[in-house]
């Protein structure tokens, strides 16, 4: 058994920031990660980091933009904390050597981005995430923080109290991919989940193959509520054949969207008469798909993003990376022709419910970054807000886990924050197949001392992995394909009740199929067949959660659109959708949105761009 004060699971932006912060508080920290840190998908973020640095800008404007972009489904204490602390985090990165793009006077450049009232997006070319990731990994190396790379965390070691709010997290179980060893990790102070996105639930996504929502699924099955899962961001500019992201920076610099009649669609059809291409991402994604559905798409699939008029010099200076991406992954020369783009899954706004200190309702279990829902992105995340979020809340989670007193959190967590029972009419029952379903692991382990809790968790994982290895069964890839297909067909940008129900039925079938999966590679050495098979179970649970939330929420808010409910219903729906797993049964409830901030109470207004 390995032992550290703080165990950080995942080593992308949030994980690295958390580890550095915990280390600075004097904790013995370890990063346990299925990919070497520099392979993390934070590295693919292109556009930038929003922070109110300019003297004419202010944090409360940033907070307001964030709340408006979120369609008023954010919790004000999270949004205000975020906007206040983002500038310090950006300057901290600069002091760590991040190669930001610069102005003539040597200051960090800032550019306009969708949904922002001030040009406050700092960036490093169109490869901001790459530089952020490498800069922070360098600081981890400098501090000598221990990294267990290519160790895949498969489960948490949590006590078995009935009420999740009484439970305690003592560590986790991880599988050394290279050797096949399964080992327990004892965290004296806390476990921080920083596992990133879940894009692999869909088949057209900007996310990496590794983004399988492991943290969300593990926390969910340990009893932590997951929040607002139906809010999935579809980025309006991804390359049609691969899902590779074309940064919002292209539109920030002046790129224009055209339909097949070469009309500037955002204005021509009134999708966003003020902000045009720079309207919020959900608005632009719906506009593009409406064009395609109404027959004005190109090849009935995509629209064009044109940046040629910006001129070669400006493109090479600020968007060079985009030229490489368009050339390598779509065979298009962006200097010569417009680039084909369509919406693709990009970001999950929902996730593991935490307070503004990053802690969940289970004592000693934290989450930060995309896998968490604090909640600050609400119904729609603004471009350039994900990187500062993982900095601010990664750092806070790291400090809190290391024992620093950040003050009492205002955001309540756990089922006791319930304000209202949820009820949703589903065609099949969600959750585990039945109580004897071996894959419906009991929420908690034991009510014993930490070592026993961890040893029990290790024994369970060993048994599960042995079963998968020895069982002669179907290949997980087929189950995963079925999920991705139904999610993309039925739980996409436009959502209808019948389709959502169809998806739930398909997911149920996939769950039944999953009982028959087996790993055909018998090797203990670098068995990616095994890793992917374990990931697929996480994908099933999260696909179901997203669909349940989408079916329950009968309104149109932010990224969530329902055909029969095309209006925002503040009287009824200013509340978070919460799902909680009770030993395999799914409990749906709601908790109210907190609109009272530090200096102001946010009044929901019509969201127009």
């Amino acid at each position: 058994m390995y032992e550290h004060d703080v165990i950080v699971v995942g080593a992308g932006g949030a994980g690295l920031r958390a580890a550095i912060a915990a280390h600075e508080e004097g904790a013995d920290v370890a990063l346990v990660t299925k990919l070497h840190p520099v392979r993390s998908h934070t590295g693919a973020a292109e556009g930038g980091i929003n922070a109110a640095l300019h003297e004419e800008d202010s944090w409360d404007l940033h907070a307001y933009d964030t709340m408006k972009g979120a369609d008023y489904l954010s919790d004000a204490p999270a949004v205000d904390t975020f906007a206040q602390e983002a500038p310090d985090e950006v300057i901290q990165l600069e002091h760590w050597g991040m190669p930001f793009s610069r102005e003539e006077d040597g200051k960090v450049s800032q550019r306009p981005f969708g949904g922002l009232s001030f040009p406050r997006t700092t960036y490093a070319g169109a490869e901001t995430g790459h530089h952020l990731l490498h800069t922070m990994y360098e600081q981890v190396v400098k501090r000598g923080i221990e990294v267990y790379d290519e160790w895949y965390v498969t489960n948490l070691a949590v006590t078995d109290h009935d009420d999740p709010e009484d439970r305690e997290c003592h560590g986790c179980v991880a599988h050394d991919i290279k050797s096949g060893e399964i080992a327990g990790f004892h965290a004296n102070n806390g476990v921080i989940l920083a596992t990133g996105g879940l894009g692999q639930v869909f088949d057209h996504t900007t996310n990496a193959v590794a983004n399988t929502g492991d943290g969300q699924a593990m926390a969910y099955r340990a009893g932590v509520p997951i929040e607002d899962m139906e809010f999935v961001q579809f980025h309006p500019t991804t390359l049609p054949s691969t899902g590779v992201l074309i940064s919002e920076g292209v539109r920030g610099e002046g790129g224009i969207l055209y339909n097949d009649e070469e009309e500037r669609l955002m204005f021509e059809y009134g999708y966003a008469n003020n902000d045009g291409e720079l309207a919020s991402r959900d608005v632009v994604s719906r506009a593009e798909l409406t064009e395609v559905n109404e027959g004005r798409g190109i090849e009935d699939e995509y629209v064009h993003l044109d940046m040629r008029h910006l001129g070669e010099e400006r493109i090479l200076d600020r968007l060079e990376n985009i030229l490489h991406l368009a050339e390598d992954f779509e065979g298009v020369d962006g200097l010569d022709e417009p680039m084909p783009v369509k919406p693709g899954q990009h970001y999950e706004m929902g996730g593991i419910e935490t307070d503004e200190n990053g802690e969940t309702c289970i004592n000693g279990l934290y989450a930060a970054g995309e896998c968490a829902c604090v909640s600050m992105h609400g119904a729609n995340r603004l471009g350039g807000n994900a990187l500062p979020e993982l900095l601010v809340f990664g750092a806070r989670a790291g400090r809190d886990a290391a024992g620093k007193d950040l003050g009492d959190a205002q955001i309540p967590t756990g089922p006791s924050a319930e304000s209202e029972d949820g009820d949703v009419d589903t065609p099949v029952s969600p959750g585990a197949l039945d109580s004897t379903d071996g894959d419906a692991v009991a929420d908690g382990g034991a009510m014993a001392d930490p070592e026993t809790v961890i040893e029990d968790a290790v024994a369970r994982e060993q048994e599960r992995i042995e079963t998968l290895l020895e069982r002669d069964g179907v290949n997980h890839a087929e189950v995963r394909d079925d999920i991705q297909e139904t999610m993309t067909a039925n739980v996409n940008v436009f959502r209808e009740e019948d389709n959502l129900k169809q998806a739930l039925e398909d997911i149920r079938k996939a769950r039944e199929q999953y009982k028959h999966v087996g790993v055909s590679d018998p090797s203990r050495t670098f068995n990616t067949d095994l890793i992917h098979t374990i990931e697929t179970r996480n994908i099933i649970d999260l696909a179901e959660a997203i669909t349940l939330g989408a079916l329950a929420r009968e309104e149109f808010r932010g990224a969530h659109w329902r055909k029969k409910h095309q209006e925002r219903k503040d009287d009824e729906w200013l509340k978070h959708t919460m799902l909680q797993w009770n030993d395999g049964d799914v409990n749906l409830y709601y908790k109210p949105v907190m609109l009272e901030g530090f200096d102001q109470t946010y009044e929901p207004k019509e969201r127009s761009y």
Partner: protein, 288 residues
């Protein structure tokens, strides 16, 4: 029928009907048949196919302990990358085929491979640009863990050896005050900051192949990225130059340009190494 995981008892009890194990095997047989039909149809339908010859090795699996090449025929479509082809082969023919990959867009650096005799990233190499059959091997000069996966530890050790972190003499005290850097200086180090740690350069380098302690192009480039950054502190810069001009540092480079040629991010690695040689001389440092 019980839905429990297969155990001895349930198998015995359900001997007359179909045991869960049998049922699972039946489903697997059906699925495999369907998949074989689908593959056949896809191959028929595709106007062209390509043959991959893929290196296979697993130290603990019978039949794979001796390295061998397996052939996979994949349907070809325009725009298909080597990574797409490998994923097709894995998901349709052999789920034990093992390779690292994640972002699919040439930024995570996981899938540097030796493809038709050259180090390239699988995800940004077009199948259509290569001669058939396509030979895919793990990166040369590194220990093979399994199939196309190599041990990266030595590469990481060399990267860490140059103390790859920013460490200025002092940072500004003012509230929200950044260090200034001219756009020209930022431009100067820009290419060097693009390294994705894929290891292609190190694998292509003859010197690194013969001298295991040679820092190698990626690590020296990392040192360059800091040494040429005007924000770096003077003491740290001297320290860094001392590291790269030691016995297994910059002077080992014989300017063969193989690293520069294979770098998927077009970093002028050889030039950076040459420049650091000049920098070391300028600083009048003692040669080894």
């Amino acid at each position: 029928m019980s839905t429990q995981i297969e155990t001895k008892e349930t198998e015995d009890e359900e001997i007359e009907e179909q045991s869960p194990g049998e049922r699972r095997r039946e489903i697997k047989r059906q699925r495999a048949e369907n998949r074989a039909k689908r593959v056949e149809a896809e191959l028929d339908e595709a106007e062209q196919t390509r043959r991959l010859k893929v290196f296979r090795y697993d130290p603990e699996v019978e039949g794979k302990e001796e390295p061998r090449f397996d052939d996979f025929i994949v349907p070809f479509h325009k725009g298909m990358t080597i990574l797409d082809a490998l994923i097709y082969a894995r998901d349709h023919y052999d789920s034990s085929l093992t390779f690292r990959h994640s972002c699919r867009q040439a930024v995570c650096g996981s899938d540097a491979l030796f493809i038709n005799g050259k180090q390239r990233l699988g995800c940004k190499t077009q199948v259509g640009d290569l001669e058939d059959p396509i030979r895919i091997e793990p990166l040369p000069h590194q220990d093979v863990v399994k199939d196309l996966v190599v041990d990266m530890e030595h590469f990481y050790d060399q990267m860490h050896a140059v103390e790859p972190f920013f460490d200025p003499d002092e940072t500004p005290d003012g509230e929200l005050e950044e260090q200034r850097q001219t756009p020209e200086n930022r431009e100067y180090v820009k290419m060097a900051t693009r390294c994705i740690w894929c290891g292609a350069c190190m694998s292509s380098c003859n010197i690194a192949a013969g001298d295991n302690e040679y820092l190698g192009p990626a690590a020296i480039n990392k040192a360059y990225r800091f040494a040429m950054d005007e924000r770096e502190g003077e003491n740290r810069k001297q320290e860094r130059l001392r590291i790269i001009e030691q016995e297994h540092g910059v002077w080992r480079c014989q300017t063969q340009f193989s690293c520069t040629e294979v770098c998927p991010k077009d970093i002028p690695l050889t030039e950076h190494i040459q420049e650091l040689k000049r920098e070391a001389v300028k600083n009048n440092l003692k040669f080894w």
